[in-house]
Symmetry: C2
């Protein structure tokens, strides 16, 4: 198993690590190595990038949707807070960028623009390096090699120079012949979908639609929608968003032509999208032509003490159906348009955060009505769009109620990130230090956010599979564990149909799925 669980096989590798000074340790959140100049904010990172700085490391306490532009231009990301499935970690893995989170040994003063490690004080522009596979932060520069497999896939290497690529292809073919588990990827953009397909994914197992709202043009419309004082204002903002969503879906359908694309409806709490800090709030109020007080009031109203357990996922879809309806329209408008282009779109609509059968039943009614309406408008035949309707199983109660829920859906996808959080009562954003302590003290043998907790979370998955199984119910997993070799073997044992993981983990999952068959 060790070959499959090594994460670095197709991520940038680091040379000369031994020669450098280690200044901090954290959680290995996204594999590969990167070095560059420190930026303490997303804006600074973007500004440095515009000034022509090529290698930037974004160093923050934690990241939020506000930081996406900065993360995009960064070569790697470091945070001092958060666990392996914090915002920084999840987004970095999605982008294929090295990332170390929950780092100890360093402290950051974002206002002063300083990072301290013992006696050492580093300011913006100072060089550091990270190894995201080992969770180590170094001082100074390190040279980094782009992995040959990706170079070959990207056509940067001559084929005959790339012996490794040949080995890789052979190994993957061998694995694919043996494995029974399907391998899909988690991808939110046509670009990610393309990488995933190149790396062997046979479908998208998780397309997170909220990531589509993070672009700065869309974010403004999305915020206007949340903050709308009237129904008309909200509908207008949603109409503004629909073409963006439709384009996104169309792009992914084109890339995945003939393969299934599982689209998860809006999942996070609304306040994750709202501006933070005085300056941002003022800027947004100006742009949206609202009073600063009105914006503050609404932000305060949407604030939650435990957002992880709050108004999100299908709870949003049930209390604000217009958002989900807009998303369903965009999906099916895109699917019909794809069909007209000769592209075979196979959308699988996925409802997040289900805990009761009533939620699924009600939403299915609402969505089917919307889908029929789109078909009529488009003068299209739904027979040509073989869509499925399913639910995530990420709340313990949904696993327990699997039999009842299964009657109303075509598939289950285990969201093992949230399922681990709820089953353990453990926030992935708050407990990195505690998990580290538990691992050191032998209270845990493994981080349950890295490798699936088979005794607890796995037991609940087993219960859900037993109770939910019916003739045609498809079972899959789309948590981070879908890219962890040991967890993949466990999923094979449960009899799942597929695992879905970050694009860069697809080869790991293919190998592990073959090893599961060979025992």
């Amino acid at each position: 198993m060790s070959s499959a669980s090594s994460q670095g096989a197709n991520s940038p590798q680091q040379r000369e690590a031994a020669e450098s000074q280690v200044i901090g340790h954290g959680l290995a959140a996204s594999p590969g190595a990167a070095c560059g100049a420190i930026a303490f904010s997303a804006d600074d990172a973007v500004a440095m990038h515009r000034r022509g700085v090529r290698d930037i490391l974004l160093v923050r306490e934690e990241t939020s949707p506000e930081d996406i532009a900065g993360m995009e231009v960064a070569a790697g990301i470091v945070t001092t807070r958060g666990g392996k499935t914090s915002h920084a970690a999840v987004v970095a893995r999605g982008m294929g960028k090295p990332c170390v989170v929950g780092s100890t040994g360093i402290s950051i003063d974002e206002t002063a623009g300083e990072m301290t490690a013992g006696e050492l004080v580093l300011r913006e522009g100072a060089a550091i390096a990270i190894d995201g596979s080992a969770g180590v932060i170094y001082r100074g520069e390190l040279s980094v090699v782009e992995p040959e497999i990706l170079q070959a896939l990207n056509g940067k290497l001559e084929k005959d120079e790339s012996a490794l690529f040949g080995h890789f292809s052979m190994l993957m073919e061998w694995a694919d012949e043996r494995r029974q588990l399907g391998v899909r990827a988690n991808a939110d953009t046509p670009e990610d979908a393309a990488i995933a397909r190149q790396l062997g994914a046979r479908g998208i197992g998780l397309c997170r639609t909220e990531h589509m709202f993070f672009g700065s043009d869309r974010l403004l419309a999305f915020r206007r929608m949340i903050l709308a004082a009237s129904d008309e204002g909200r509908y207008a903002a949603l109409e503004e968003l629909r073409p963006y969503q439709k384009e996104d879906f169309l792009g992914i359908f084109r890339t995945m032509d003939g393969l299934p694309v599982t689209i998860r409806l809006l999942d996070p709490p609304l306040h994750e999208f709202l501006p933070h800090g005085d300056a941002e709030i003022e800027a947004f109020a100006r742009e949206a032509e609202l009073s600063v007080e009105a914006v503050r009031k609404r932000i305060n109203e949407t604030r939650e003490i435990n957002p992880m357990l709050g108004l999100r996922g299908c709870r949003l879809a049930l209390t604000h159906p217009e958002i989900a309806i807009m998303q369903i329209r965009a999906i099916f408008e895109a699917a019909f348009e794809a069909m007209k282009e000769g592209v075979e779109a196979i959308p699988e609509i996925m409802i997040p955060l289900v805990s009761t059968v009533t939620e699924v039943r009600r939403l299915r009614e609402i969505f089917e009505e919307t889908i029929e309406r789109v078909a009529t408008e488009q003068d299209g035949d739904l027979e040509n769009i073989p869509y499925l309707f399913g639910t995530m199983i990420e709340i313990p109660r949904a696993a327990l109620q699997a039999k009842q829920i299964a009657e109303h859906v075509d598939f289950f996808s285990f969201g093992t990130n949230d399922l681990t959080q709820m089953t353990y009562g453990l926030s992935r954003d708050d407990t990195a230090a505690m998990i580290h302590h538990y691992l050191e003290q032998g209270l845990l043998t493994e981080d349950p956010f890295t490798s699936l907790d088979q005794q607890g979370v796995g037991d609940l998955m087993r219960i859900a599979c037993e109770r939910g199984r019916k003739g045609n119910l498809k079972l899959g997993i789309c948590g981070e564990h879908g890219g962890d070799a040991r967890s993949v073997v466990f999923c094979h044992g449960l009899g799942l149909e597929y695992v879905s993981c970050s694009p860069y983990r697809v080869p790991v999952a293919r190998l592990a799925a073959a090893q599961a068959v060979l025992g």
Copy 2:
């Protein structure tokens, strides 16, 4: 069943409600009626009380441990945020005070000292009334009658005037003869324990030790302990707290002489105890002789995104064992002192928030060592103190791992408040409006924080009972559901040994337990 589920039988009742103007609705968080003058902060409530205002209603967005003194002097509590098991609701029920939470129809501006209900603007001192059994807020004054049963128990009524008391006693005797379930109470002070015993509780099923740190003298020492820069400082602060804790436990042991007292070790996240707001932080820094910056830094460090799923309960005991060790010392010093007085102390040590068997095993080792040490110091014989060692089952994983955990404990107590939160993935503090919407829309037939969700949470309890049961394992429940008639019947069906509920709910539980036997 309807007689047992009526909550008002021994709570202050409201007259003339029909004549008054309803200005808001909320969740019926603690039964009974109250009217009085509005106070918008705990400090204002205390000041009004000192000025001789007798009936005060504390009206806040939400309450926190800071507000305890204000809650103590108030006749009732209203909040606009939070659910039935929010801080305000739980503390109010513990105090036996009427409370309405998550109220709609009114909005509060605490800074301006204004409450708005439509066109109506009410300021400090204005009269309102609440019905905590129905969740209604009224404008103006209402006369309130203290319930005869409590008046009789308190000796305020002549026995011959109190026909109701006679009926009550007869009914309770009848119920006690038939029921198989034991009934205990949740009580944190000797006063609450005395009421519980008067109302028929045969033990304390939940003594929340954190409530003992909320007094203003203790809070300072507790905060010093959290914020200590050195181990010495922390130990010194803990030594300051130990006598308080010991006195508290001794008082409860005396009151409950011969009956078991289940003591839950510190449960909430540490930052719940830290000062909020500039003024409080500055005042605390002055008192504790720390810099304001140091206090702010530490507050920021302990801040959590999802405190419900964070560093609390046994996770605190394992990362900061000195706090739990201080508590264990105080419990056993008190037990030995009680013994010397001729009082029979039966402490049952309860570990909160367990999710793995390793946590229980490690803590039991640490605690037994401490207990032996106290016995040696006190020259006492542990044979005389028949203590038990148990765990809460409030995290889904603990329910699933019941077999393994049962090997290391003498009892399980189902903490159904948290178990409901985790099983549903639903924060009790954030989802009052959503639950309201779900109830209206028929997506839920009942609030799962009021009446136990038998299909989901109950199913997990059933799994835990089946897996955990061994010869001498005691099973109980200490969530709010222990005082809900329908949930009590369910617990009877599971074969639990006892339910534990707020003192004022004990009669409801006694009746429901009898009804469960009669089917």
